[in-house]
Amino acid sequence: MDVRFRIFRFDPDSDQEPYYKTYDLTAMPQERILDCLNRIKWEQDGTLGYRMSCAHGVCGSDGMRINGVCALACQRLVRDYADSGEITLEPLPFFKVLKDLIVDVDDFLARVDSMRPYLIHDGVLPEQELLQSPEDHKKVEDVIRCILCACCTGACPVMNENPDYVGPAALVAAYRYLFDTRDDQFVGRLEKLNQPNGVWPCVNHYECTRVCPKNIPITKSINFMKREIKQQIPGTGK
């Protein structure tokens, strides 16, 4: 089928303003949007900039806005947009554009890092594994799917109103260790989340949950943490 792509272009070294460039392509319905991007770059315009690597939704490189919705270009197929006339590709909203579809993720990653996303175990380690029941393991089963693609943070309406909000991806990382029964920092982690730009700016738009390429129940997880804070730290709440 014939497909028209309308792609956001901006090279701060040479462009005053961002603009959109149109590319026409004949594509198979089952081709990935990423396959199309590759063919545009390889065959039509080598100046096009975007990130990609694994091409099957594991590495998290190719988060972008496809027809207005944040998604991974390697997880969306041409047939998903069969009725839309043209396919518009734009960089993730909220993020600073470095070139075309490539955005600056350093601050995003620093926010994830600020959640101390590693196990803090105070006691002496056993010779074998730390025990954990299958039920306790299940508590983190959803959030360990996170691939840090930043689609959630790009889609979150609160990020634009309050750029200091730590954002959904960082909160998923926080959840991952907060509810890991092997971790000994439960209260410390809760206190961190209880700060003004921790969990509280989330007001349940559910956009993060809708766009997550790994189907993580992000908003629900954030609400779970809010409830935990209210229960564990007296006198809190919005």
């Binding site: 590693y118 299958p134 092997r182």
Partner: protein
Amino acid sequence: MVFKHDVLIVGAGIAGLRAASEIAGEADVAIMSKVYPTRSHSGAAQGGIAAALQNEEPDFWEWHMYDTVKGADYLSDQDVAEILAKDAIRAVYELEHMGVPFNRTPEGKIAQRFFGGHTKNFGKAPVKRICYAADRSGRVIMDTLYFDAVKKGIKIYPEFHVLDLVIEDGQVAGLIAYELGTGEVHFFHSRAVLIATGGYGKVFKVTSNAFASTGDGLSLAYRLGLPLEDMEFVQFHPTGIWGLGVLITEAARGEGGILLNREGERFMERYAPTIKDLAPRDMVSRAIYTEIREGRGINGEDYVYLDLTHLGETKLAERLSDISSFVKIYLGLNPATDLIPVHPTCHYMMGGIAVTRDGNVIDVNNEPVPGLYAAGECSCISLHGANRLGCNSLLDLVVFGRRAGRHILENLGRLPWVEPPTRPVQQAEDRIKRIEENRSGEKAVSIRRSLQDVMMADCSVFRREQGLKTALETVRSLEQRADNLSIDNGGKRYNTDLIDALELQNMLQLAEAIAASALNRTESRGAHWREDYPHRDDENWLKHTLVQKTDSGISISYKPVTITMFPPKPRAY
């Protein structure tokens, strides 16, 4: 700008991260990667990591070692296989202590499952040896090690593409890298370099590998005349999604999935009567292609079915959820009710930069190069031999990544700061300039496609002399064409057009090494199957291949295999 660190690690996958973690705090270590660390391809490993923990049933490191050696079709150095199988147990507990969220047994221990080629009592029946976190084991191990690096404050240079090693009088002086964000070429001064850049499956048309898997690290060493070892051994994973090559983990069969031909027959019963669908990957891939060639592919086409319909929704959700979603997204199928069309996909390279047991790169005379190391898929530590077993790769990364890190630390005191030549970046800058300023050359894409096509047609699961000669000649003519590459992009910022060109030059060199090594080896062993020489020939070929670039072209030599506990026997499953 000049950067300076005691130790530089190229590649931020699991091997590089594990080595860095060993060095951090003791010496100044930095990691560079052409992608952001969490995008590295270790994260695509699905099935798990092997260790004889005995959490589900009796198991012993000797059984694991035997399986590794037999899986390798006896081309594994057995002293190395012994280190792996013994250290596996410590290594998995270490990962668990760091926070890796392994699935659990009802008693709260690390759960274990079946996998191809892992058996009890020296081949009698499958054994539950594989520790896993659903089917995203690589991703969670990599994330855990990455955030450990963050915690330790290890300096990371993301989106730096390595161009050259700088070696003066046989000693490491550092390396040259291209910064994607700015287009600048930098010299990194260091006393030791660890190459951990992963595989190069992109040499083949159908692959489970990432676009980034172009073997840049091997190419660095190869260009300097250092030998690559056992390059003819290329693993095709039996179950890639038809057409796409996206991996469906062997755990699907470990959990009970079976392969079916067009007659609905579970054909692996004929090829491996004892362990059937859990035979090693080389055997299953050959079996699938044999079925297809004999007209028993589905609808006469080039695929067979993977049947997971009897596993049930719960098992699929708890243990195979990522692959279930791949099947849904790319094929529109539900593995709980639909059969999955699969065929072999290039997955793993047994060959790589020749190294000692401690990861020290060695020259063709077996002499270590002071300060130069390699670990993980880009290296060949003579462990996986002619065919790697599933779940031995993640294990290799953490066991030998750590050993390389330790060896670097132990030797750092003896490694001087070697003065680089004046303007060490000159050669690399010239190479880039030639591509940038070439207005009349060819673009990378058509050369790359020709490369991937010929390697797939003539150098994949089944090989013959004529085909290998064709492949070698084609690759050599493509190399000449690639001397005259040009690009559209004249910009400095994220010029991935340029990176494509540089990666293609790297891949062509490696393809030549693969084809030349394969042409020379006139026997069939593990993943290297010669239809014109369909038997293993221990008398003449129980030896490792070393391929090296010299002024007069490619030179191939051999070195012996270390055999300790398990003398070679016929390999049946």
